[in-house]
C-alpha cells in the first residue's frame, strides 16, 4: 500500500478544458460580462459570478421524455395507503417525485465564476481592442531591481565586500595562511638573535620556517576568485506608485443612459489601465451641472440633476481636491471628462483658460470624451469640442474623441499609448 501526497501537484489541471468551455460559450459569456460590468462598480472587476443560458453548452442524449408513458414507482415510508388507493396527481408532472432528470439543469441558466483575468480579457475583447494593446494593458510596465541574495558572478560594481572578505578570511584560516604579523614576528626574532654559534641552529630553523611560511603565503592568495560574492538583484515588475483618476461628467438632463454607459466603460477601461501601472489608484467622481460636487460612484452614474451646464465649476472642484488631497509630487494625476458637448457659451473662455493654465500642467493625461446617441448625431462640432481642439493642436497632453458606440472607445487610448511610448524611448536614449 502506498500513501501519496498529491496536494502539491501542479494546479490548474483542467485549465485547457476551461478555455475550451469559455470559447464555446463565448457569445453568451460576453453578454453576461457586458451586463456585469454595467451593473458593478468601476473598480471591482475581481472574480465575477456570471449566469448564462446557452444552447451551445447543451449535451443532448437519447433520454426518456418525462411527459409520456406509463410508469411504476417504488417509494419508501408508506403511512396509511392500502392497495387500490388513489393519490391525487401532484402538480408539475413526475409521479411522487421519484423521477428527477439527472442532468435536467441543462435547459436552465448556468452559473459559474470567471476569474479576474478572464473577466478583464473578455471585457477588453468587448471593447474590440487589438491583441497587442490588450497585452500591454495586462502587463505591469517597468521593473524595480530588488535584492535577491548573493551570487558568485556579477559586475565589479556589485561586489559585496563584507561577504567576500568573510569567505577569504575563513579560507585563509582553514588553509593556515600565515598572517603578515606572524611573518614579522619571525623576522623580528631572527633579527634579535645574537650572532653566535649557540644560536646558529635556532637561527637556521627560523630562517627555514620563514622561507616556508613566505612560500605558503605566496601560494595561498589573500583573495581568491572563489571568495568573490556579488549582490544579486532581481527585476520585479512594479506598478509605478500612486495615481488618482478624476472622472468628470456632465449630469444635466441632456445626458442619456446610453451616454452615461459609454462614459462608464471609458472610465472602467482607464481604471484597468491605471491599476496595472500603479500600485494605488484612487478614483474621484465629480459631477456637475451649473455647480459641481464630489460624489460617490452610485450617485455619479445613477442620479440626474436639472440645471444648466457650466464646465468650469467641475475644473474648480477638481483643483480644490488636488490641492487638498493629491499633491502633485506624490500622485500621478489622470482626468477624464465625459460630456455631450453642451456648455454655457459665456463659460467657454473661462473653462478653456482654466484647463490650459491650471489643469493640464497637473495632469499626466487628460481625456475628453464627447458621447453621442447610438445612431449618431449630425451637426457641427460643439462649442466645447472646438475649444478643446485648439488646445490639442497646441500640443497639450489631451486626447479628445467623439464616441457613439462602445467600439469607438479604444482609439482614445491609442493616443495615450503612443505618447507614453515616445516618452520611454526618449528616456532610453
Amino acid at each position: 500500500m502506498n500513501i501519496i501526497d498529491r496536494r502539491l501537484n501542479p494546479r490548474g489541471k483542467s485549465l485547457a478544458n476551461r478555455q475550451r468551455f469559455i470559447r464555446r460559450a463565448r457569445k453568451e459569456i460576453l453578454d453576461a460580462v457586458r451586463e456585469a460590468s454595467a451593473k458593478n462598480g468601476i473598480a471591482d472587476a475581481s472574480g465575477e459570478r456570471v449566469r448564462i443560458r446557452s444552447d451551445s453548452l447543451r449535451e443532448p442524449s437519447f433520454r426518456p421524455s418525462l411527459h409520456t408513458g406509463r410508469r411504476s414507482y417504488v417509494l419508501p415510508g408508506n403511512h396509511d395507503y392500502v392497495e387500490g388507493d388513489t393519490i391525487p396527481r401532484p402538480s408539475g408532472g413526475g409521479g411522487g417525485g421519484s423521477e428527477g432528470s439527472p442532468d435536467g439543469d441543462l435547459q436552465d441558466s448556468f452559473q459559474f465564476v470567471l476569474s479576474q483575468d478572464e473577466f478583464v480579457d473578455l471585457f477588453l475583447e468587448d471593447l474590440e481592442l487589438p491583441d497587442m494593446l490588450r497585452k500591454q494593458i495586462r502587463q505591469a510596465d517597468g521593473f524595480t531591481p530588488q535584492r535577491a541574495g548573493f551570487s558568485t558572478s556579477g559586475t565589479p560594481a556589485n561586489l559585496n565586500l563584507v561577504r567576500t572578505m568573510r569567505n577569504s578570511l575563513s579560507r585563509r584560516i582553514a588553509l593556515r595562511r600565515p598572517s603578515s604579523s606572524m611573518l614579522a614576528k619571525i623576522e623580528a626574532e631572527i633579527a634579535s638573535l645574537p650572532d653566535d654559534a649557540e644560536n646558529g641552529q635556532r637561527r637556521k630553523e627560523l630562517v627555514e620556517q620563514l622561507r616556508l611560511e613566505t612560500l605558503r603565503s605566496r601560494r595561498i592568495p589573500f583573495i581568491d576568485p572563489l571568495d568573490l560574492r556579488y549582490n544579486r538583484f532581481e527585476n520585479v515588475p512594479r506598478p509605478a506608485a500612486s495615481a488618482v483618476m478624476f472622472c468628470l461628467m456632465d449630469v444635466s438632463g441632456s445626458m442619456t443612459a446610453h451616454m452615461k454607459d459609454l462614459a462608464k466603460r471609458f472610465y472602467k477601461l482607464l481604471y484597468l489601465f491605471l491599476s496595472r501601472r500603479y500600485r494605488n489608484v484612487d478614483i474621484v467622481f465629480i459631477r456637475h451641472t451649473h455647480v459641481a460636487h464630489e460624489v460617490d460612484e452610485e450617485t455619479f452614474f445613477h442620479s440626474t440633476e436639472s440645471g444648466g451646464t457650466i464646465v468650469s465649476t467641475a475644473f474648480e472642484e477638481m483643483l480644490r481636491i488636488v490641492n487638498a488631497r493629491y499633491p502633485r509630487e506624490r500622485w500621478n494625476i489622470y482626468a477624464a471628462q465625459a460630456s455631450d458637448g453642451d456648455n454655457m457659451p459665456a463659460d467657454n473662455a473661462y473653462a478653456v483658460s482654466l484647463l490650459q493654465q491650471n489643469i493640464l500642467p497637473l495632469c499626466q493625461y487628460f481625456a475628453y470624451l464627447e458621447v453621442g446617441a447610438e445612431e449618431g448625431r449630425y451637426g457641427g462640432p460643439t462649442e466645447l469640442w472646438r475649444a478643446y481642439q485648439r488646445i490639442a493642436q497646441a500640443g497639450y497632453p489631451i486626447a479628445i474623441r467623439k464616441v457613439n458606440h462602445r467600439s469607438q472607445i479604444y482609439p482614445v487610448f491609442r493616443q495615450l499609448f503612443s505618447r507614453e511610448r515616445a516618452v520611454r524611448e526618449e528616456q532610453a536614449r
Binding site: 500500500m1 483542467s14 478544458n17 414507482y73 417504488v74 417509494l75
Partner: protein, 510 residues
C-alpha cells in the same frame, strides 16, 4: 495486531498525519482480510485538495482524461456550487484500477480518513475486483495506460486536424455515449492491446496502400447487383444496439482517426457501464464493510468513544432514507437500501426466522454471513440482486409501496408492504434498478448502402415512454453528421409495433 498505544488512538475531530494514516490502514487491512475475507487489488491512497477533488469530479473520476469543453463546464458548475456552499464534496473518489487508486480529501478528520479508507480502499476495491460484471467488462490494470493513450491520441488529433474538428467529433460521440455499450460479451477486453491495435491498423493501411488502384478504370455499366434487404442486414450485422461500434466499423465517410476517437469514447462508455448497473450493490457493499470494520476497530480500542460517535453521526447521515413525503426525499438512497439489504442478508444467514426459511431456503441459516455476502457481491447486479434477496421483512421495515402512473388520471397504489404485495414490489424495484429497462432501447435496423445510404434506427418504446423530442433531434443531427447521409429514427410501440413518432436528420453541409 499489537495493542493500541495511547498516542495512536483515534480521537474525535482530530487532524490526521501520515504516520497515523498508515497505522489505521494496517489495522483496517487486518480486519478486512482476516476477519471479513475480502480480496482486493493493492491500494494506492492519494491525499488531495478540494480543488483537485473538483478536477477529479469534472473528468468523471478518472485521473487522466482527454480534453473537451464539457469537462470544463462540469468543473465550472461544480466549483460555483461548492464555492457558494450549495454542495459539499465527496469524502473520497475511488477508481476501478489495479492498483486501486483512492483519493481522500485533506480536509477530512482522522476519523473520516479511517472511514473513507475502510469504505473505498476495501469495500469498493473488493467489489471491483470480484464482481463478475467488472471482471468481464473492465480491465482494471489497463485503464490508466489506456487513458494516457487516449489523452495523447486526442491531443495529437487536435494538432493535426484542428481543435474544432476534434471537438465536433467528440460532441457527437458523447451524445451517443449511452448507445456505445455492448450488453452481451463478445471477447475478453484487454485495454493494453488497444494501443497496439491502433498502431497495427495504421501500419497495415500504409503497407497495403497502392496508388495504382486509383487509376484502374471503372467498368462502364457494371452496377453491382442489389442484395436483398435481409441478406444486406445480415452482412452488416444488423440489428446493432451499439451505435458507436456500428459507426466505427461501417460509417462510409469517417477518416481512420475519427474511427479511433469513436472507439475511445466507446471503450470509456463500456468501462463505466458496470458501475451504472451496480450502484446499489457497490455502495451497499462498501457501506457494510466500513460499518463492520469501524465497529471492530472500536472494539480493539483504536477508535475511542468520541471517534465512534463522530463516525456514527456521519454514517447515519449517509444511510438516511427520508420518507416519500419528506421534503428531503429525492429518490431511494442507494447507500441506505444497499446497507439495509446487506445487513438483512447477514441476519438471514446467521439467524433466520420462519419466514426467511420459506423465502430464502438456500441461504437461511447458512452460518457464515460473509461467505454468503461475498458470493452475492461476486455474482449479481442490482436488478438480479434485488430480485433474489429483497426480503419481506425489509419491505415492511422500509414500508415500501408501488404507485402506478398512467400519465393522465390520479396515481394508483398498486401494492403495499403486505403478503399480497411483496412480489410485486420486489419485481417493480428490480425493474427500477435495471439499466436495460430504464434506458431507451434503440437499435440500428437497416442501412441501404447500395441505395441512398439512409440509416434507419428504431426505438422500441415500452409503456408508451417516448424520447425527449428536442434532445432526440440534436442527437440525431450528430448521428447524421457521423454517418454522412440521412438518418431516420422511428419510435415504435413495443407491444403493438405501431409507429408513434418519426425523426429525421440529414448531415449538415460541410
Amino acid at each position: 495486531m499489537s495493542a493500541v498505544t495511547e498516542e495512536a488512538r483515534v480521537r474525535a475531530g482530530a487532524d490526521w498525519d501520515f504516520r497515523q494514516l498508515q497505522e489505521a490502514y494496517d489495522r483496517i487491512e487486518a480486519v478486512a482480510l482476516k476477519e471479513l475475507g475480502l480480496d482486493i487489488y493493492p491500494n494506492q491512497i492519494e491525499v488531495i485538495t478540494a480543488e483537485q477533488m473538483l478536477d477529479a469530479y469534472s473528468s468523471i473520476g478518472l485521473p487522466l482524461m482527454y480534453r473537451h469543453w464539457s469537462f470544463g463546464k462540469r468543473f465550472a458548475r461544480d466549483e460555483a456550487l461548492y464555492r457558494h456552499g450549495l454542495r459539499s464534496l465527496a469524502y473520497e473518489i475511488v477508481i476501478n484500477s489495479n492498483p486501486c487508486i483512492v483519493y481522500i480529501m485533506e480536509e477530512n478528520t482522522m476519523v473520516m480518513q479511517t472511514l473513507v479508507m475502510a469504505h473505498a480502499a476495501f469495500g469498493h476495491n473488493h467489489f471491483f475486483k470480484n464482481n463478475h460484471l467488472f471482471q468481464q467488462w473492465t480491465d482494471a490494470s489497463g485503464i490508466l495506460n489506456y487513458m494516457e493513450f487516449a489523452k495523447r491520441y486526442v491531443a495529437r488529433c487536435e494538432e493535426k486536424y484542428g481543435e474544432a474538428a476534434v471537438e465536433k467529433l467528440l460532441d457527437a460521440a458523447h451524445a451517443l455515449m449511452a448507445q456505445g455499450v455492448s450488453r452481451y460479451p463478445r471477447r475478453n477486453l484487454n485495454l493494453v492491446d488497444e494501443e497496439k491495435r491502433e498502431a497495427e491498423r495504421r501500419a497495415e493501411q500504409l503497407r497495403t496502400y497502392n496508388d495504382l488502384w486509383r487509376t484502374v478504370p471503372h467498368q462502364p455499366g457494371a452496377s453491382r447487383r442489389r442484395t436483398d434487404a435481409a441478406e444486406r442486414r445480415r452482412l452488416l450485422g444488423l440489428p446493432e444496439e451499439n451505435i458507436l461500434y456500428f459507426l466505427e466499423k461501417k460509417a462510409p465517410l469517417l477518416k481512420p482517426w475519427q474511427r479511433e476517437v469513436l472507439r475511445i469514447v466507446r471503450n470509456l462508455a463500456q468501462y463505466f457501464y458496470p458501475q451504472k448497473q451496480t450502484k446499489l450493490m457497490n455502495e451497499g457493499c462498501a457501506t457494510y464493510v466500513h460499518y463492520r470494520i469501524m465497529n471492530r476497530l472500536h472494539e480493539q480500542g483504536f477508535l475511542d468513544e468520541g471517534a465512534m460517535l463522530e463516525f456514527l453521526h456521519s454514517h447515519t447521515n449517509v444511510v438516511l432514507q427520508p420518507d416519500f413525503d419528506d421534503r428531503r426525499y429525492s429518490g431511494l438512497n442507494v447507500y441506505a437500501l444497499g446497507f439495509a439489504m446487506m445487513e438483512d442478508i447477514a441476519r438471514i444467514a446467521e439467524n433466520p426466522d420462519d419466514e426467511d426459511k420459506i423465502w430464502f431456503p438456500e441461504i437461511a441459516g447458512a452460518g457464515d454471513a460473509m461467505e454468503v455476502l461475498r458470493e452475492a457481491w461476486a455474482n449479481y447486479r442490482d436488478e438480479s440482486f434485488i430480485r433474489q434477496f429483497l426480503s419481506p421483512r425489509l419491505i415492511r421495515k422500509m414500508k415500501l409501496f408501488t404507485v402506478f402512473d398512467d400519465g393522465e388520471s390520479d396515481l394508483l397504489v398498486k401494492a403495499i408492504h403486505n403478503e399480497r404485495g411483496y412480489r410485486t414490489i420486489r419485481s417493480a424495484l428490480a425493474d427500477a434498478f435495471d439499466v436495460v429497462k430504464q434506458e431507451p432501447e434503440i437499435e440500428i435496423v437497416d442501412a441501404d448502402l447500395d441505395g441512398d445510404r439512409k440509416l434507419l434506427l428504431e426505438h422500441r418504446a415500452h409503456n408508451g415512454i417516448l424520447l425527449e423530442p428536442s434532445d432526440a433531434e440534436l442527437v440525431l443531427q450528430h448521428l447524421a453528421d457521423l454517418w454522412g447521409y440521412e438518418v431516420r429514427l422511428i419510435e415504435v410501440d413495443a407491444s403493438s409495433d405501431r409507429v408513434l413518432r418519426t425523426h429525421e436528420a440529414g448531415p449538415s453541409p460541410r
